[in-house]
Symmetry: C2
Subunit: 172 residues, 2 copies
């Protein structure tokens, strides 16, 4: 099932990943894999200055969210409590707003990627957690002063799970 | 001018700020001011577990973006290069995707806020950079392992400007 995107699309992600279940769950857990954003031709001017940043946030439309284990299709409205991929072995449920999963009221993805180069309409990046063809809604530069929470903040249930590099839903 | 929100709204932000021009430009520059999200009654279950996190990302619909200096209304489609608030004194233009400004192709805001408490449908937070009435599209927990760029990344033109606490567009 593909969710139609109700917003203007500024670019499309190209990666070697074809299904959500075999795609790493977070870019920070897959820092070395490279992808490319093909930016909208008529918006290229808006990228001026982006090459001076090492990292950026990709806001994406998660058009093909993986369903819960065993289901072929995502439900019409996602469940408000879900078992996150990373808690599958424990079968613990969490409120969807305490997870980073793709089955959300608004399936907007937030990926922190490393910028490798901006060349015309192509943006090379490292840190793939998106399937090929994912629509991009926005790119925002990562600004340490704005985006780094101070100290060592509590991170809820994430503090209780092991996070393995490259882990995908199919592994869990 | 108010931009209609084309996506489901999961909550509304309440703050003491009434106009974008007199609202701090980033939550991290206004860490002590407190606001409240009034969450949708029928989605409260989705907040289970959020109180165990110290920080969260608010994805918001910037329904009332401030216009460029001197204009009463934002343009229909935002300019692809803009003078960011923080570069007004220098009158330097940047591509909109190298800025964090609100006048974007998709006016989606990304605010890192400190969670102070979740009580039923009310979420108290510190770090106000939103005007009263801003629609919330999503809340995602801040996870240090996912959201902290390693090392001291280059942050483009932000590395060249002074960032004062509490600064608003009207100050610049």
């Amino acid at each position: 099932m593909v969710l139609p995107c109700p917003l203007p699309v500024v670019g499309v992600v190209h990666t070697a990943r074809r299904t959500p279940d075999t795609t790493p769950v977070q870019s920070s857990l897959n820092r070395n894999e490279v992808g490319v954003i093909e930016f909208a031709e008529d918006l290229i001017e808006g990228l001026d200055g982006l090459e001076e940043f090492d990292y950026a946030w990709l806001l994406t439309w998660l058009h093909e969210p993986s369903g819960p284990a065993g289901s072929a299709q995502p439900p019409e409205r996602p469940e408000l409590t879900q078992v996150p991929f990373l808690l599958r072995s424990q079968q613990r449920e969490m409120g969807v707003f305490a997870t980073r999963g793709p089955r959300r009221i608004n399936p907007i993805g937030l990926s922190l990627v490393q910028l490798l180069g901006v060349d015309g309409r192509k943006i090379r990046f490292a840190g793939v957690d998106l399937i090929d063809g994912t629509p991009v809604l926005d790119i925002k530069p990562y600004v340490t002063r704005f985006d780094r929470a101070p100290g060592q903040p509590r991170c809820g249930w994430f503090d209780t799970v092991e996070l393995s590099d490259g882990v995908t839903p199919a592994d869990l």
